[in-house]
């Protein structure tokens, strides 16, 4: 057998020097005159995501076809200009933020559902399709797309693929990777390749599975084959009310120990639910210490039994009361509260920082206690609204960004919490990705060699680190051979 090539052939185009206006002109030739933004006032809309970091791109381009994405990648690779793919920019980890002066490929014009294949329980979508719109698109067929991030009204499936997004119902149904079977991908070389297809699994390496969650560092997905699930026959939504977060936390373990896997199991602490209630009147009790929002779905008989069993467990664990949504409207209202939480917080605090740590389910109560101590230590309000069923904590750290010391304290508090998650056997991200914000914590979770292996994979596809550089992996000082070559003629020329 012949030896394998050292890596994919990446750069075919000559390495030419081009000024940013020249690059913009080329982008216009590729995607159309109205498909490129380069004026500062336009670019400002693309300098941030839903997290706290900002960085001004050099240009934003809106391709309409896979072929255009391929040409854009070839152009960017030839001039070593960093590229980041962007869906709706709802991410919290900086994954869709450009390097200063880089190119943003925005997918809002590649937003078509290409195919709905009912018999195979699949849809093929372009990356710019909004998550909830896919479920709405197939609703009349009795089908839906299971991953349901809180931002599902805005976030795109391309973004979900990049970050391997989750949501409340991932407890039973899994994160995005469990729902993607095939991909069309543009590699940094501009080459268009296919991974998997409509079959549930593919033989050969599971490149589609590997690609999901690679945070835009391997390639750009331009068509995504996803599973469509049949809507459950019956859904029961319960609201269990507790005097304390500790009791609610213990109940999460008790439900698991009782052999029940709810479709969703969410926790809101007292402070958070009062803030939400003032905003959207979801019907949460104002005097509770914490509530659990529990959803069961499936066969009618099974759901009824489980709803009773879960209620009984809650009452044994000192719940004050367990309410059940009687109508679809009541159910929608309970979820509205959960899913609009961030909007509610925006009313009471100028800024907030959301974390995404994961702990083993049995450590939830202890972790909440630790977060309480961190809140006191840094003198910051920290709300908790999170996916309790799978131990995915989302502490919301409130601060005012106009006061630099508050930002410092918020970042320090966040790091303390994530270090704690790692110490009890957990992780720094359950569904938001590492992005820019958590990459320097990666060496706490992974050894240098773990990261070295991952970086060698990135480099084999993204050798010049043109695609989403400075994401996912720590800065060079913290891990050797992390960054790509420091060549960037355009940015050097522009004085960036």
């Amino acid at each position: 057998m012949t030896l394998l090539p050292a890596s994919l052939p990446v750069l075919h185009l000559r390495c030419s020097f081009m000024s940013l206006p020249e690059v913009v002109e080329q982008l216009r030739k590729i995607a159309g005159r109205d498909a490129v933004l380069d004026r500062r006032e336009d670019l400002m809309l693309y300098e941030y995501d839903a997290g706290i970091r900002k960085s001004m791109p050099g240009a934003v381009v809106f391709p309409q076809t896979t072929g255009q994405v391929s040409q854009i990648m070839r152009l960017a690779s030839s001039v070593h200009l960093p590229v980041v793919a962007r869906g709706a920019g709802t991410g919290l980890s900086g994954g869709a933020i450009s390097q200063p002066g880089g190119i943003v490929i925005a997918f809002s014009r590649m937003n078509r559902v290409l195919e709905v294949d009912v018999e195979n329980q699949r849809a093929v979508v372009q990356p710019g399709v909004v998550n909830l719109q896919l479920s709405e698109h197939v609703s009349h067929l009795g089908l839906y797309f299971a991953p349901d991030p809180s931002s599902q009204k805005a976030c795109t499936i391309g973004g979900n693929v990049a970050e391997n997004s989750g949501g409340p119902h991932t407890l039973m149904y899994g994160v995005t990777v469990n729902h993607v079977t095939g991909l069309e991908v543009v590699l940094p070389s501009g080459e268009i390749v296919h991974f998997g297809g409509k079959a549930a699994e593919s033989c050969g390496y599971d490149m589609a599975g590997f690609f999901v969650g690679s945070e835009g560092t391997i390639g750009i997905a331009t068509a995504i084959t996803v599973k469509l699930l049949r809507k459950p026959e019956k859904v029961a939504t319960l609201l269990a009310i507790f005097e304390s977060v500790e009791d609610a936390g213990q109940t999460v373990s008790a439900i698991t120990a009782a052999g029940i896997t709810p479709a969703a199991l969410e926790m809101l602490d007292g402070w958070t639910l009062r803030t939400i209630e003032a905003y959207c009147h979801a019907g949460y009790p104002l005097d509770a210490g914490a509530v659990l929002l529990i959803e069961l779905d499936g066969l009618r008989e099974a759901v009824e039994e489980q709803a009773e069993a879960v209620s009984a467990v809650c009452m044994q664990q000192k719940a004050r009361e367990v309410r059940r949504a009687k109508t679809e409207e009541e159910r929608a209202l309970l979820w509205k509260g959960r899913k609009t939480a961030f909007g509610a917080l925006g009313r009471v605090s100028p800024s907030y920082y959301t974390q995404d740590g994961v702990v083993p389910r049995s450590k939830i109560a202890a972790t909440l206690q630790f977060i309480g101590e961190v809140s006191k230590k840094y003198d910051l309000i920290i709300g908790n609204i999170f996916h309790a069923g799978d131990g995915n904590m989302h502490p919301l750290i409130l601060f005012d960004i106009r006061f630099p010391d508050q930002l410092e304290r918020a970042l320090a508090a966040s790091e303390d919490i994530l270090q704690y998650c790692i110490a009890v056997g957990g992780s720094i991200t359950g569904e938001h990705g590492v992005g820019m914000e958590k990459r320097n914590l990666m060496p706490v979770l992974f050894t240098e060699q773990d990261l070295d292996v991952m970086v060698s994979l990135r480099n084999t596809f993204n050798r010049d680190n043109v695609l989403n550089p400075e994401k996912l992996f720590p800065t060079p000082r913290m891990c050797r051979e992390i960054s790509g070559p420091a060549r960037n003629p355009v940015l050097t020329q522009e004085g960036m």
Binding site: L4, E301, G426, M454
Partner: protein, 441 residues
Amino acid sequence: MSATATPTRFASELRSICGAEHVAESPTESIGVVASLLAVTPGSADEVAAILRFANEHRLNVVPAGGLTQQHTGHRPQQVDVLLYTSRLTQVEHYDPGDLTIGVGAGWTVGHLCAKVAADKLFFPGDPASPDRATIGGMLATGLYGPHRHGYGGLRDYCIGVRFVTGDGRKAKGGGRVVKNVAGYDMMKLLIGSWGTLGVITGASFKLFPAPRQTQTFVSCFATASEALEFRSRILRSPLDPICLELLSPRASALLTPGSPAAALWSVCLRAAGSDAVLARYRAELGSAVTHEIRTGNEEGFWHAVADFVPTVREQHPNSLLLSLMLPLANVAPVLDSAGAVAESAGLELSAIGRVGVGHLLIALWPAPNTGADSLNFVKAAAGLRGALPHDGCMTVLQCPEETRREVNPWAAIPTDVKSMRAVKSALDPNDVLNRGRFPL
């Protein structure tokens, strides 16, 4: 490569890594007909890494080995310098029944893992053939699954972490111990089904499930495969949520459950879990389609027999062609039709089972009694079936008669871009030390 000249010198190096008693020269095991020069049984991931670094220096071909249940699949390696056993990697890395997770060494057998968690009323859904021999590492590396694939998903859905050593000797991990975790690249996905060509898996973590309190198996029989598959589609459109949904051809029933009433017909076997009320609902929904029920007591034996289809065919029909196919759901019926036609024209008998609710089929073809099917018939049959696949269908040849090995490509259909796969291989095993020649790269 000069391994043949100096196996003894290599043996002494390997002894210094993992102790004299764990290195054997000229072991009796072979990969197909290819004898191995050395067998080594490291006791830790560090020892695995040292062995692989040594193998890189000398360009040895290392074949990772668990229970040796799948070593005959794939291209036959031209030579095997080191057979690397994982049987000493048997530590429990973490286990908290309350968290429904477990992490174990790769050398554990699947049967051992199932028994351990069953003691805590938990369920591990991996159900490959020969669970008392198949190891965790081997199951992951070869992407094995059985009938519970229908209700619990595949390894890619419930393997939450992996520890491994890359082909070039780097000890690494992916994922972790918690059920939800997206930090870093998903190394589990790359290693599952990589056939030991990227790294040696040394340990893995899994999600566990509550053990069902009771189950019941409903069998429905049909005169033709297409009627059986139409019944499958009806179940998939219904609210029912079975944990197994298996198709058995008449010959498969006769082979696996001799004397069963299903042996003359195509049967769909549905296993449901739940309370009396839930099982009653199944009974009501399935109605008169149910021919008989398999009651608790006989149920486990039945499903083990189904899971053991491949070794049973190998044992009873050593002169057979055995294929594993993964297809989009809509292609199962036409491909099975084609398989019937291909078998008939080649003078072969067809036996098939599969997790048809997820698009999986196992097809066995053996000569009809009193016919002298020669190797050409098998080659024709394999090519005929390959031609019936959709562009995104997968087909792997698990076994073929020895004389057809040259003509039958074991990796008959792979829909994923091979150049990208090669790039992954070059990143993790640049010197092609692991399972050289086995995989289609």
